[in-house]
């Protein structure tokens, strides 16, 4: 910050680069230059297929060279998963990894990507006769938290920071959720979320019986509704590293947002703790960010595990996501040797991420 003080006119994107150079070069070592290059270059998207749309985008996208990275993995692909029809099914497939660990993936979440090194862009999705769009473009790595959340038939799910709704949409594709509660403290962003849902999901899926959209401060959730949800997604606000490097508008590294930026880890901790409280005993919580920052990732989770036990008497178990990482090692680059959670790190040949995720299971 001292450096910045002597250069008052430095744009926030520059401040972000300096900040990241200082912190990530030590954190990522040899990997940092490639991650830096990737984050400063055009990112890749994935097309989350919308099972509710009549536009069968799948064949069209495949003809352009895309592959569904979830079902078309190079090894360990159960044949039944590949043969599955377009029709959404409500059974989850169990697929085992090399170590025999169980990991279930919803067969209804399909995401198409252009292969490694291919920089072709997607065309905007088109609406079908009911106005529903065929796919949603998002960072393909953002689907990993949704897959890792492992939603099962009949679950009640809380999406604590849900807007603008990419992950919500992926969760809805499973068609397994009994009740979905989507929250985001920003009213304008919840409006965007509503718009997204209406462009992708038929009205009869969006009734009060299956879905609730709220705009509360998520940190207070434990006081509102505790010990309730089978699954909780805590996709917190963070330094959004990619955005901070590329866009000066609305940049968290701008001078007047320094305080807000410094308070992020505390806010993230409170949100995660609230999510933990909102989950039922036996329920699972998935914490995710789109930053590489240790302070916003591992440290937050460590603190939350500690405080949940000390303050709320909630015991948590960290769920190993290595199986997931092994399944998708061909599509994404993962940070090696993280002692808590997993992280997709950007690389030019597979320019997705950054996405950090850590899964916790409530034991009590």
């Amino acid at each position: 910050e001292k450096w910045a003080a002597t250069h008052p006119k430095l744009p926030p994107t520059r401040l972000a680069v300096h900040h990241f150079d200082a912190t990530y070069s030590t954190q990522l070592g040899q990997l940092w230059p490639s991650v830096r290059l990737a984050m400063l270059s055009e990112r890749k998207y994935g097309a989350l297929l919308n099972n509710f749309s009549h536009n069968v985008a799948l064949t069209e996208l495949k003809a352009q060279g895309c592959v569904d990275f979830i079902s078309e993995r190079e090894k360990d692909v159960p044949s039944c998963l590949e043969e599955k029809s377009e029709e959404p099914s409500d059974v989850s497939m169990k697929s085992s990894d090399a170590d025999g660990e169980q990991l279930s993936l919803s067969p209804n979440i399909k995401c198409l990507v252009f292969p490694r090194g291919d920089v072709t862009r997607f065309k905007p999705a088109r609406p079908d006769k009911n106005g529903l769009l065929g796919y949603y473009l998002m960072d393909a790595a953002s689907l990993l938290p949704c897959l890792a959340l492992d939603v099962q038939e009949g679950h009640s799910v809380l999406d604590l920071c849900g807007a603008p709704g990419g992950k919500t949409l992926a969760l809805l594709q499973t068609q397994a959720i009994r009740f979905l509660c989507i929250n985001d403290s920003s009213v304008s962003r919840t409006l965007r979320l509503r718009k997204v849902l209406h462009s992708y999901v038929p009205k009869h899926f969006l009734t009060n019986e299956n879905l609730r959209i709220t705009s509360f401060d998520g940190t207070k959730w434990g006081e509102i509704e505790s010990n309730t949800f089978d699954r909780v997604l805590v996709d917190v606000p963070c330094t959004t590293d990619r955005h901070s490097l590329m866009e000066d508008d609305n940049n968290i590294f701008s001078k007047n947002r320094t305080g807000e930026r410094r308070r992020l880890p505390q806010l993230q901790l409170e949100l995660l703790l609230a999510g933990i409280q909102a989950a039922c005993p036996g329920g699972e919580i998935l914490y995710s960010t789109c930053t590489l920052s240790q302070n916003q990732n591992l440290s937050v989770v460590e603190q939350a595990i500690y405080q949940a036990r000390e303050k709320d008497g909630i015991h948590l178990q960290v769920v190993d996501l290595k199986p997931l990482m092994r399944m998708f090692g061909n599509t994404f680059h993962f940070a090696p040797d993280l002692h808590l959670g997993e992280m997709v790190i950007p690389h030019l040949v597979a320019n997705f991420g950054p996405i950090y995720m850590c899964k916790l299971k409530r034991l009590t």
């Binding site: 250069h7 490639s34 290059l37 270059s41 055009e42 090194g117 920089v119």
Partner: protein, 269 residues
């Protein structure tokens, strides 16, 4: 029409009376080997313009006077058949202009051998480029001489693009004139320069100096960025794989192509 074509054709096959002295023999007398002489004789017949053949003798003489040997003279003609059609006076004026710029015998000879096309460029054009390099880019006279000697093709570049390239390297890369001359900057296209530079910059290995000319890292020198093949560049300077660089080149080409419309030139700040 058919008649015209026929006349033209017969002219090519039978050189007009004025140049009958250009026999095979005369080329051999100049020092060409028999096969060299035959090839020159043939290519002369292929030159379209009817009156071109009369310029060949003074051109050959001029090239010999510059100190080129028969085989390099023949190579020059092959590389640049336009030489067959230059008028003697023009040729002499261009050579003397190049001498005025400071290209003395040895270097003039090497430059012509390497880039005979320089003799087809009007003196006025060369003078303009020299002025441009001195006034817009602040190269010294000696540096300009070196640039023309080492990168003669610079005289045919579009001056706006040349200015952009210079400003890019001067302001964005923070490289001074002396280093540009030393590493023969003008041999490289803007795209080549900018591709390697941006790649390094995004990897965190290159920084634009601030107003005091300072950087927080030590930039690699221009020579090690440009004057090496791609493998060496990747291994020693960029420290990464060709796979990554290949993707980058494709992305960068698209970025620049799309940015070209809005973006002006780099503003010095």
């Amino acid at each position: 029409s058919f008649t015209n074509q026929a006349t033209q054709h017969s002219q090519d096959l039978n050189p007009p009376s004025g140049i009958t002295e250009l026999s095979l023999r005369s080329f051999i007398d100049m020092g060409f080997t028999e096969s060299q002489a035959e090839q020159i004789y043939e290519s002369l017949a292929n030159v379209r313009k009817g009156d071109s053949a009369k310029h060949i003798l003074p051109t050959l003489t001029a090239l010999f006077v510059l100190g080129l040997n028969p085989s390099s003279v023949k190579k020059c003609l092959e590389k640049c058949p336009e030489l067959y059609t230059i008028k003697e006076a023009q040729l002499q004026q261009r050579i003397s202009n190049l001498r005025k710029i400071g290209l003395v015998e040895g270097s003039l000879q090497r430059m012509v051998a390497h880039y005979p096309r320089i003799l087809t460029v009007p003196s006025k054009r060369v003078k303009n480029v020299v002025m441009f390099l001195k006034e817009k880019c602040l190269f010294t006279s000696q540096q300009v001489t070196d640039i023309i000697r080492d990168c003669p093709a610079v005289v045919l570049e579009n001056l706006d693009q040349l200015e952009y390239k210079f400003q890019y390297v001067y302001f964005r890369m923070g490289v001074k004139q002396a280093e540009m001359v030393k590493c023969r900057l003008f041999r490289y296209s803007l795209d080549e320069i900018r591709c390697r530079h941006t790649f390094l910059e995004r990897r965190g290995f290159y920084e634009t100096p601030d107003k005091k000319g300072q950087t927080t890292i030590i930039n690699p020198n221009l020579d090690s960025v440009l004057n090496v093949d791609q493998d060496t560049f990747l291994a020693h300077v960029a420290q990464t794989s060709a796979e990554e660089y290949d993707v980058f080149k494709r992305l960068a080409a698209r970025e620049w192509q799309e940015g070209e419309l809005q973006q002006g030139r780099t503003e010095p700040d």
